[in-house]
Symmetry: C2
Subunit: 388 residues, 2 copies
């Protein structure tokens, strides 16, 4: 049974964010925490809808076990946070960084937490903030934990974000021809996505919005994290490997394909089919209860047995949420079970120096029955061989 | 005497980066450190020329007091770092995050540092990394310290970056007319800057390159950190406040102006002149030996005495370097002296609800004799009243 979730483009309401806070408080209670402190901008965005970059003026969210969360902010950002935050917050404002003695951010911060309290902190919290935090500190990533299972609202937003990358990828396949420059593709595809974002969400927050598009032509597609030069030319043949990613007003997704321009080199056929089969194997295992490390292990074993052991350089998948890369991980060492309402990538890859890379990636929702692919682009070698 | 520094667009050579490393080792020696550990991507970029985003797969630079620095990296990024890093490094490669027991990043990391060593760490180092770091840890921001005083090469790169924002601001003043949308200005100005960056530096690293442009029309210019809505319209009159910022292949700068379209409202004349005078006062104090907190104090005092005490919401200035916001700070509480080869902003501001904001900002080099403005745009109310 395919569930028909609908795309959502409206901002979260107060209830949605209050529920998220409630999830955190349940986790706090389980660990007997008096406070939980968040400094990570993605976690603060998740709970409040306020997006910012970390800079020298700290923003700190202090969640007591009861009552309004407190947010320590610089004066300069008061209007900005009031414009965007949806969760009800108690603001504590400091003037500047640095400031006169007794008026620094930490002078205010230290008064907000009891000295004998048990305080949960993020593993990403910078040492300079930890150092100023009173109480007994316990590293525990409660907000990352809560973010793993999506609400219906988050699923609707993610479905909308997938429509953006679907469009981007259509433009990419239409414009990608031999001799076209990387930079031209980047511009065309990101402009198409940005235009659609602005049409669909006129009030989109550009601090939580970004778009990326790139193609690795066959001469470099064996090295997927090498950043292509902007004057790189697309080539006849393949494998070309595309990346189209977007964070759409706070929701990160991706869509990636292996494709060919004009013809498929003979040597590329087998690794393409092995990639397709390894992907099919992964999808067959996608259902609540499957252990994520086991999926990765089986996919790797399959690729090993096909003779491509030396060409695996990354895990089978990762989670999506506010960012395009977060927990959960479909990776050996991550022994957790899949649950409904997780959103992950499936992207086993094979990278052969001298021949190229082979990887499709989709954004996939785990459902009660199994899974639902949220991104859409051609998948077969026939459909991905483009007439030039 | 005006020194004529020349713009530089070429990448740093090995000597430049080896000298930067040498600066760090002198500071390490002063604090008796056996190792210094860097996790902050801006610090790692400063020393190695390799730019990246922090994600779940850690990159860690380990600087022993002697011998090659070691860099712990995920397998996937090997090609990428080899493509960009210029400093000679010893790579230690882990497969993935997460990974099987015994093969995680921290299993490798912990073997790289002696248990009884004294280890310097950044105040921005995440607690989850600190927790896995062996030895006696001391929080000390040595690399930020070294970054404050620029080399001739860095000054040359910054001068080039200023040419980019100068161009951006010229386009902005040419295109900004009543009814023009924020989004259109953003696109025109950032496209003009990006095109020039690509022409001047064909191999620019886009992980260390970004451009921003925005105008706060008079209805919102009193609130400088509120992010304007993309469909905000420019207005007749003023004060409009512009921001043009760029990080150009690793060098951050800014140029900001208060300007008027067609006419200057009567009430805006006095605060504009107070802003101009407070700025002149700050420039008069710019020379090696001036204490930065004193400059801020005097500028604030001047604005106070003119009757605008309630309308100051930020410090007088901040440093530039790899980013557009870093130490040193022209702020009360920052009691350090100016030195030649610091690069800072001078931007005292007045923000009056119902009337608007008044702020010019330039990127300024401190020289032996005083200072040299590196950005260039009109400054007087006459030159900044644009015929419509």
């Amino acid at each position: 049974m395919k569930i028909n979730y609908k795309a959502i483009t409206s901002p979260p309401n107060k209830g949605e964010l209050t529920n998220r806070l409630e999830k955190i408080r349940i986790l706090m209670d389980r660990e007997n925490l008096d406070y939980y402190i968040s400094f990570d901008p993605t976690n603060i965005y998740y709970l409040t809808n306020f997006a910012f970059y970390v800079h020298e003026r700290p923003f700190i969210l202090i969640i007591p076990k009861e009552g309004l969360p407190k947010m320590l902010i610089p004066l300069l950002e008061k209007g900005h946070i009031e414009q965007r935050a949806i969760l009800e917050l108690d603001f504590i404002i400091y003037y500047e960084f640095p400031a006169r003695e007794g008026e620094n951010w930490f002078d205010y911060y230290q008064k907000l937490i009891n000295k004998d309290a048990t305080v949960g902190i993020e593993s990403m919290m910078p040492m300079g903030i930890v150092d100023k935090t009173p109480g007994k500190k316990i590293i525990t990533d409660l907000i990352e934990e809560a973010r793993i299972i999506k609400t219906d609202y988050e699923i609707g937003r993610t479905i909308h974000a997938c429509k953006i990358v679907n469009k981007g990828h259509r433009v990419l396949l239409k414009k990608c021809r031999p001799k076209v420059l990387e930079f031209a593709l980047y511009k065309e595809v990101t402009n198409a996505m940005t235009s659609k974002i602005v049409q669909d969400i006129p009030n989109a927050n550009f601090r939580a919005t970004q778009t990326t598009a790139a193609v690795w032509p066959p001469s470099i597609s064996h090295d997927p994290h090498l950043v292509p030069h902007i004057f790189t030319e697309m080539e006849e043949g393949g494998p070309h490997v595309s990346i189209v990613q977007a964070q759409v007003d706070g929701y990160g997704v991706e869509l990636e394909r292996t494709f060919f321009l004009g013809n498929v080199p003979e040597k590329a056929k087998e690794p393409f089919e092995v990639m397709i089969s390894s992907r099919a194997l992964a999808y067959n295992l996608l259902k609540p209860g499957s252990v994520m490390s086991e999926i990765d292990k089986k996919v790797r074993k399959f690729i090993f047995e096909k003779g491509y052991a030396d060409y695996i350089i990354h895990r089978t998948g990762h989670g999506f949420g506010i960012t395009g890369h977060e927990a959960p991980y479909i990776a050996e060492g991550y022994d957790r079970k899949l649950e409904p309402n997780m959103i992950i990538s499936i992207e086993p890859g094979i990278y052969i120096p001298g021949l190229g890379g082979f990887r499709h990636s989709d954004t996939v929702l785990i459902t009660q029955e199994g899974y639902q692919k949220l991104t859409k682009a051609p998948e077969t070698i026939e459909d991905l061989t483009i007439t030039i």
